[in-house]
Symmetry: C2
Subunit: 390 residues, 2 copies
């Protein structure tokens, strides 16, 4: 049987192998359905403390100011930028994908002076260029995307930290698609501000944005000359709710925090390093399968994300038709390209619960069939076999 | 038995009679726990259309631009203000509670010229003052709180609309604690921008902010001279995801939208007017009980909210001790006062699922016991009896 669609036409649970959300475990789904507590209930306050402690564990940090922002990943991005930029501050942004572009755009809306260092979508940033630009503009903040969800490209952060040390800049990092899926070490690497999303390698529904802030950056926040332009995302107030004062700011998304707690518990129980290795193994299996099918990965090996795999769409194959077929016949979602990569790549997520060998095999099987329908024939079962023996 | 705490020390579901969140039905909890779909999945896109259609029904509007903002009520407030104010625009804000203060503060952060008309917490706005102020400053936007959650005071909106008609101002309304709990008629009353929260009279967990925008206000948005300072809340982009284009902006909080759909279905199945009447009936029963106990409501009858009841704390009674006792012995949450009303009132929510006669009776019973422990003795059973016969 080639598909998992049930005979009555109703779908079983979708297999989510796009750029996020990823699949969510039964335990997280049970957690999100729990009866509500008030946002100032002592039981909820103690749950908040647990969340913060577990967030520190997955971020590998002792930062006091570590909390989930009450919005999706882009709200985390905005919180990171509006709190640490003031009008006319200089900020240097590495742009080689949609999320770098977005950071630059959000920074402009903070009325900061924004410089960008660009690389083509699918390529890594040129660190020499980044260093020269930083030396020239002496930015208050250097902002890079650790794991570009739009291209599948990794930015190694330790070299960027060394650049920031030269110029005394704060290092701000988009860790949306890396947190809990690949090595990210906030304290060891000296990252000042990092945000993520819940719906990627943490396998929690979207709706919260984990954020962590170093002591150095927290001091900068405390010494701002102007008010943060966003009231909702103003960390100088939000931290009083998540801190020992527990002062009401806005009503926390209660159910989402239940889900996040369960997802964090699962990540920590698995073990962070073991979880990274699982993401690596399944990524390598996917690559082996893709290449055995005669397809190509879009990103050079050294800079590939384990969580988000960009596959070049072969000549003559219709992007949307293949994705629609995977969805309809295999109940399986993958993502299309964004921005300049639209129609040129597929984005195959292997994040959190979705990063499983059975999903790799099933995807390769489905892709082989979908490509055959497009007239693109791979060695039968070759992808699956290569992945299974990788 | 005076309490519902289980013998093993674990609590049954908390009875939420504070300022929100309110209790959530089993149907909504089942919905929020559903397996995830991707935010561009055709099944999710059709669910979004259903949500929008039902939101129009509960807002009593045909506004095309009607959608849930991806954050809690305060994110809805910020979205309402940042999108419709530009730097140096004049805005007039009615302030007689914490949420009016918050609107003024958010508007200042938009660099608008903010005028306020103030009334003491617990009092209604003086409409003559509002009219004079509007005539003087000719504001682009007049902003008022329909149902002040911090004080329990209603602002009648039709007179405010007439003031706005004189000055050609857009009317912006905080409907957080009124939507689906008391009469709110967006189109009939000519409200231009209104936002709410999900965790009040809709009885959905917190995490989304329903928002609706009139055609006139949407045109103003389209003709802005400056970019909206918040990228996350920029409706000119968000509306392309919720509109027919379905262009990706940010990942929608999928599970929260499942919950909202179920909550909206429940509200519409009950019937909006019937739901308002239920809120009114239970409010009147509560008032009868409170007064029979020798206590006083803080707000004059004409301006009382059905959803949020402020009760004056009697002389010599300790606010926090009573609330802690209700929580511990009765598993029942009510709210304390905010701002200048801290320690002076209790806020008793009767919102959505929580607005039930059985809750009114149980609360009055618990309050009688908690007051007795404070040395404040009411006629035994008098509150419960008066409520039951109201």
């Amino acid at each position: 049987m080639m598909s998992d669609v049930k005979p009555d036409g109703r779908y079983s649970e979708r297999l989510l192998m796009g750029p996020g959300p990823s699949n969510v475990s039964a335990r997280v789904r049970e957690a999100i359905a729990r009866p509500l507590l008030g946002h100032l209930d002592p039981d909820f306050l103690s749950l908040m403390s647990e969340i913060q402690e577990l967030l520190r564990q997955v971020f590998l940090t002792s930062n006091r100011l570590t909390l989930p922002v009450s919005g999706t990943g882009s709200a985390g991005m905005e919180a990171a930028l509006v709190n640490f930029l003031e009008p006319d501050d200089s900020v240097l942004v590495g742009v080689h994908g949609v999320f770098g572009q977005r950071m630059a755009e959000v920074a402009r809306r903070c009325r900061a002076r924004v410089e960008v260092v660009e690389a083509p979508f699918g390529q890594p940033l040129d660190l020499d260029e980044l260093r020269s630009a930083a030396r020239k503009s002496n930015p208050r903040v250097v902002a890079v995307v650790h794991a570009e969800t739009s291209t599948g490209v990794l930015t190694p952060l330790e070299p960027v930290r060394r650049i920031c040390d030269e110029t005394g800049s704060l290092l701000l990092v988009d860790a949306v698609t890396s947190l809990a899926g690949l090595p990210l070490r906030i304290d060891d690497w000296g990252l000042d501000i990092a945000y993520s999303g819940t719906q990627k390698c943490l396998s929690c529904p979207p709706g919260l944005a984990p954020l962590t802030v170093s002591q150095r950056a927290a001091e900068r926040l405390a010494n701002r000359k102007s008010r943060v332009q966003s009231w909702y995302l103003d960390l100088s107030m939000v931290q009083n709710y998540w801190g020992s004062e527990r002062t009401y700011h806005h009503t926390a998304p209660i159910s989402m925090n239940y889900a996040l707690l369960a997802a964090l518990q699962e990540a920590v129980e698995e073990g962070l390093e073991e979880r990274w290795r699982r993401h690596e193994r399944n990524h390598l299996a996917l690559v082996a399968g893709i290449e055995a099918m005669g397809l190509r990965m879009y990103v050079q090996p050294k800079f590939r994300l384990w969580s988000l795999n960009t596959v070049t769409i072969p000549e003559g194959v219709d992007d949307e038709r293949v994705r629609a077929r995977l969805l309809r016949d295999f109940n399986l979602e993958i993502g299309g390209g964004l921005g300049s990569l639209k129609g040129r790549v597929w984005r195959v997520g292997l994040m959190g619960e979705s990063s499983r060998m059975r999903n790799v095999l099933y995807f390769l099987h489905g892709l082989e069939r979908a490509l055959a329908a497009e007239g693109f024939h791979c060695p039968p079962g070759g992808g699956v076999q290569a992945a299974a023996t990788s």
